[in-house]
């Protein structure tokens, strides 16, 4: 009773929206009413895409769900900063798709090379064409290798971004391990928006932890295109307390990264040029390439979507999830990608039945670690308002600034529990 009362005022609006959507997509009747087996293709097997594939099949077993993902093994980004700092084995980051396949999802270990939104087909690297009734794009973010002078794909082999977990993560770890004590590590951070901004400050913290414990004569310089960031007070307090070896240079102090020289091993900012023993350059980003090829990315490089269904505002019958999407106030995080995928799966299952998607509500909660036993979080509760995800006022926010160390230690435990729980939900 309670649930219905709560959703009733907006139900009419949804029906109107659904009718408009059905007209725009040229679907005279719901697919299931026609006796068809609706075909859903999901591109991208990360936190968002793998969740979507699994929950679509779970929500309605009659759906034919194909997950297109080139890699047989997924390497998770959350907690990869601990791998870089030598605190965690890379194997703890790796997950396979066997359990998702066992749920009845067809896994195509191929690269999606094209999408035809008119014909509703996806082309795979081996030339196969997959038809779809609804396509879910979850391609994550790609580095923009044309954005920071000197920083192209080849440069990332010398100055890793490590913003996609896997070989890059291990490369940065090896470089830190090989560095002589006394060397300077330089990080370069981009302006918003990009994948999981708090993870940049978590990484700075954990690299400082590594240097403090293993290379005490070394220091870390963080060149930042921003003056402000999420959980800033918590990070800065922790740095003051734990890491005198960490120097953060915000944009207002000339920290904006302006270019790199991989031969000289230098990173330049507005005011200065820094010689690096190890450089970790996180470049500006955009939605994964297939989103652009599908026509779902706008001039910003990211994908505008409807908040109730995550359907693209540019191409009908294509839904965009995770880091690639412009989801209003919702940040680009693994947690948010997983939640968006569950909301989208429920909406898509309803759409193919000819029903109206329910109005969703959204929680994001991101943990950051500044040391193995020192964590804090930022949470947000969101709801669609006028076609945008807006934060519910009075809710969410960061961990208290003045909490005792036991509180930080408990949040570090919850952070670990979150990783185990979410990866179990998706891959377990």
């Amino acid at each position: 009773m309670a649930a219905l009362t709560a959703t009733r005022p907006s139900r009419r609006k949804f029906i109107a929206a659904a009718l408009a959507g059905a007209a725009a997509s040229g679907l005279p009747r719901p697919l299931l009413a026609q006796g068809a087996q609706p075909r859903i293709v999901v591109i991208g097997g990360g936190f968002a895409g793998a969740t979507a594939a699994r929950f679509l099949k779970r929500t309605d077993a009659r759906l034919t769900v194909t997950l297109v993902e080139p890699n047989a093994i997924f390497a998770a980004c959350p907690f990869s900063n601990e791998v870089i700092a030598g605190l965690r084995d890379m194997r703890a980051q790796l997950f396979g798709y066997d359990r998702i396949a066992a749920d009845g999802v067809v896994i195509a270990h191929q690269t999606a090379t094209g999408v035809d939104g008119q014909a509703r087909t996806v082309t795979l690297g081996n030339g196969t064409k997959l038809g779809y009734d609804r396509l879910v794009l979850a391609p994550g973010s790609d580095p923009r290798f044309d954005a920071l002078p000197g920083y192209d794909e080849a440069a990332s082999e010398r100055m890793p971004h490590a913003w996609k977990a896997g070989a890059q993560t291990l490369l940065l770890r090896r470089q830190l391990e090989a560095m002589e004590d006394g060397g300077t590590v330089v990080m370069a951070l981009p302006a918003l928006p990009y994948r999981c901004p708090p993870a940049s400050y978590e990484r700075a913290s954990l690299i400082a932890y590594y240097l403090k414990t293993k290379k005490p004569r070394s220091k870390l310089v963080v060149l930042d295109a921003k003056d402000m960031f999420s959980m800033q007070r918590l990070f800065e307090n922790a740095w003051k307390e734990l890491y005198p070896n960490l120097e953060w240079v915000p944009v207002s102090s000339g920290g904006n990264p302006t270019g790199v020289d991989v031969t000289a091993m230098t990173v330049s900012s507005d005011f200065d040029t820094y010689k690096a023993a190890v450089a970790n350059v996180i470049p500006p980003q955009k939605a994964g390439r297939i989103a652009e090829l599908a026509g779902a990315a706008d001039r910003t490089g990211w994908c505008p979507v409807d908040p109730v269904t995550f359907e693209s505002r540019l191409v009908p019958n294509i839904h965009v999830l995770g880091d690639a999407a412009i989801a209003g106030a919702v940040p680009k995080s693994a947690f948010a990608g997983n939640v968006a995928a569950k909301i989208c799966a429920a909406a898509v299952a309803r759409l193919v039945r000819g029903e109206t998607p329910a109005e969703p509500k959204f929680v994001n909660n991101c943990y950051s670690l500044v040391a193995p036993d020192y964590g804090f979080s930022v949470a947000g509760v969101y709801q669609p308002v006028n076609g945008q995800w807006l934060e519910v006022e009075g809710a969410g926010g960061a961990s208290p600034a003045d909490a005792p160390r036991a509180f930080r230690s408990q949040e570090a435990k919850f952070a670990n529990g979150w990783f185990n729980t979410i990866t179990s939900e998706i891959f377990g």
Partner: protein, 97 residues
């Protein structure tokens, strides 16, 4: 136990106008399982919600929201939910196994 069953049946009846809505998580519930494991056996200090007493879950959320119950993050999250939303989520998780 009896009260819980009556509550769940009530929800099912109310939701009956939209077939399959009973199986669908109410608004907000999809977010919980990022931290509260759906399955048993996950290595985490966070409690599972499936099968818990809905009345106890409602009381806990209201106490988090008012600040009466200490928390690291649930106080901040609970503030974003109304009583009706909390009751729907609690009933749904109470019916899960």
């Amino acid at each position: 136990m009896k009260a819980r069953r009556a509550f769940v049946v009530g929800i099912l009846l109310c939701a009956g106008i939209v077939q399959a809505a009973a199986a669908e998580a109410p608004p907000g519930a999809a977010s919980c399982s990022g931290c509260h494991a759906a399955k048993a056996g996950v290595d985490t200090p966070v409690a599972r919600l499936a099968g818990q007493d809905p009345a106890a879950m409602v009381a806990a959320m209201q106490a988090y929201r008012s600040g009466q119950r200490p928390a690291t993050v649930m106080d901040r999250i609970a503030k974003g939910f109304s009583d009706d939303e909390i009751r729907a989520i609690a009933a749904w998780y109470g019916a899960q196994r």
